[in-house]
Symmetry: C2
Subunit: 313 residues, 2 copies
């Protein structure tokens, strides 16, 4: 709903935009949405040449922006740093191409892959640098999703802290099929963020400013997560960071709804009684394993951060 | 029991050794052990200067080799690449300084830190490159230790394969408190390797060529692992690679007898029913966690290899 980057950049450049090279990570829009078309702004500013990293996957744009620029006499180059642009735009691309947000599962684990002691004690397994990195993940995703169990146990804020003032507060989404989360939960606290309550039936006493979103429930009484994600995409949520317990994490994984796993591995062992990373019921044979591909490994403070992508079965 | 490196190198160099610079990773010995003193060979060859990376921790040597060389008119420099030498000699240093071998725990795990399905199925979790790397670990350690449970379930050979012909077959050690491992087990197969049977009482029908080593048992009926390691050191075993199940791995860890963990992390998830890396009974509070320090992380084929060192409590 805000002005697009092209309009903001042209306003900042002023007269210097005339004849300038313009580099954009996504094709400029050619249609009237909530804001006027960006190509009008580019043509009006008299820019010289436009480098478009990737075509817009939005069917309302899909090449029309590039065509309109060329029709206006501007030279357009498409594809510079396309892979990097796809990475930056992956949330938007996911919503446009698949009708659901890009889903990242975040986990803070020990080397033996435990997220908390059996008592629930988990402060702190990962170090301060890893926790700061999670705030960056939240801001980048733009939305954080958790389950009612985590809210009832930990009452998290799911806000971003320690980042620059311009960092966006992520939308807060709670899967709460049976509507157990109280109005007083900190996740519902008023602020800049949208708050969405994913429930399995007509909501009772919805907290002020919170949008209740009803999705179907499965025979087992769980929320239909694919439908819930579609509902989020309809509300223009491009990307979601999962910060939830092992049951919800496992459900997203087993339904093939996780696009990326970011695991912070703390240098410790917590033992076999501690809580697992994910519950994956029914996994009995090695042939049923969920396969991943490593994307990135680095040290974040005293922890390791491993990024992996599930390989579709 | 074999000729020391100095003697072998001097034999290979022949007359070229006269006046040469000699670089050794450990102080040359000055005493008659199973072989004559190395300093006699060095003095006899008329070498020029000797660079000793580190003093020998063996109290029978402990500076006497360096002193004898200097008394023979040879210039000796001590300390070049001392840290690297300590790494190479860590098994020998451990045996000399602590009276027990250097202990490395090897684990092949999924990202959710499981070593096998609940059925025991585990072929293969890690990839071919990681398995080849384990053969290198075995050869480097010189001895592999496992438990009776692993032998009875998997009947492993614990040999080295795919390495150069000079790679030493590791000694094979089986912790078998109640003497359950049969004579027909592949781990007892005849070959170049020593075979040691760590038992909790007078052994019955010891397999041919296998040395039975009796250690005390704890009240819980487990072998006294510290005593067992001392017995291995007395038999000149410098380093041991643990390739065992979660119970024995956990016992070594909880008794502070692990010096290094090498975990191969395969890009997959096996679920909460699969077998854990280590059983650590009684660990209920985060303050009881076993803390580690990362030493090295790298990709081995499609897996990650993480090396960590336990931090003493």
């Amino acid at each position: 709903g805000h002005a697009h980057a092209e309009v903001l950049a042209l306003a900042e450049a002023g007269a210097r935009a005339r004849g300038a090279d313009v580099f954009v990570s996504l094709e400029p829009c050619a249609h009237h949405g909530r804001t006027p078309p960006c190509i009008d702004a580019l043509l009006g500013a008299g820019v010289g040449r436009v480098w478009v990293a990737m075509q817009d996957p939005n069917p309302k744009v899909a090449g029309r922006g590039i065509a309109a620029l060329r029709a206006g006499g501007i030279e357009v180059d498409v594809g510079l740093m396309a892979a990097e642009a796809l990475r930056i735009n992956r949330g938007f691309v996911s919503r446009m191409a698949r009708g659901r947000p890009f889903v990242t599962l975040k986990a803070g684990i020990s080397l033996d892959a435990r997220t908390a002691m059996s008592s629930g004690e988990s402060q702190w397994i990962t170090g301060a640098d890893a926790r700061a990195d999670v705030h960056r993940l939240r801001a980048d995703a733009g939305a954080v999703l958790t389950g009612s169990g985590t809210v009832l146990a930990d009452d998290p804020q799911l806000s971003v802290r320690g980042l620059e003032a311009s960092a966006r507060e992520p939308d807060r989404i709670v899967v709460d099929t049976r509507m157990r989360v109280p109005i007083s939960a900190r996740v519902w606290a008023d602020g800049a963020a949208r708050r969405l309550w994913l429930v399995g039936g007509p909501p009772t006493q919805c907290p002020k400013g919170v949008e209740a979103v009803t999705a179907a429930t499965t025979e087992a009484g769980h929320l239909d997560l694919a439908e819930a994600l579609r509902a989020l995409a309809e509300r223009e949520i491009n990307a979601v960071l999962l910060e939830c317990g092992p049951q919800l994490a496992g459900a997203f994984l087993q339904q093939g709804l996780v696009d990326e796993i970011v695991a912070y591995i703390a240098p410790m062992l917590l033992g076999h009684d501690a809580r697992p990373l994910a519950l994956l019921p029914g996994m009995e044979r090695l042939s049923q394993a969920l396969h991943l591909q490593w994307q990135d490994v680095r040290q974040i403070g005293r922890d390791l951060r491993v990024t992996a992508v599930p390989i579709p079965a």
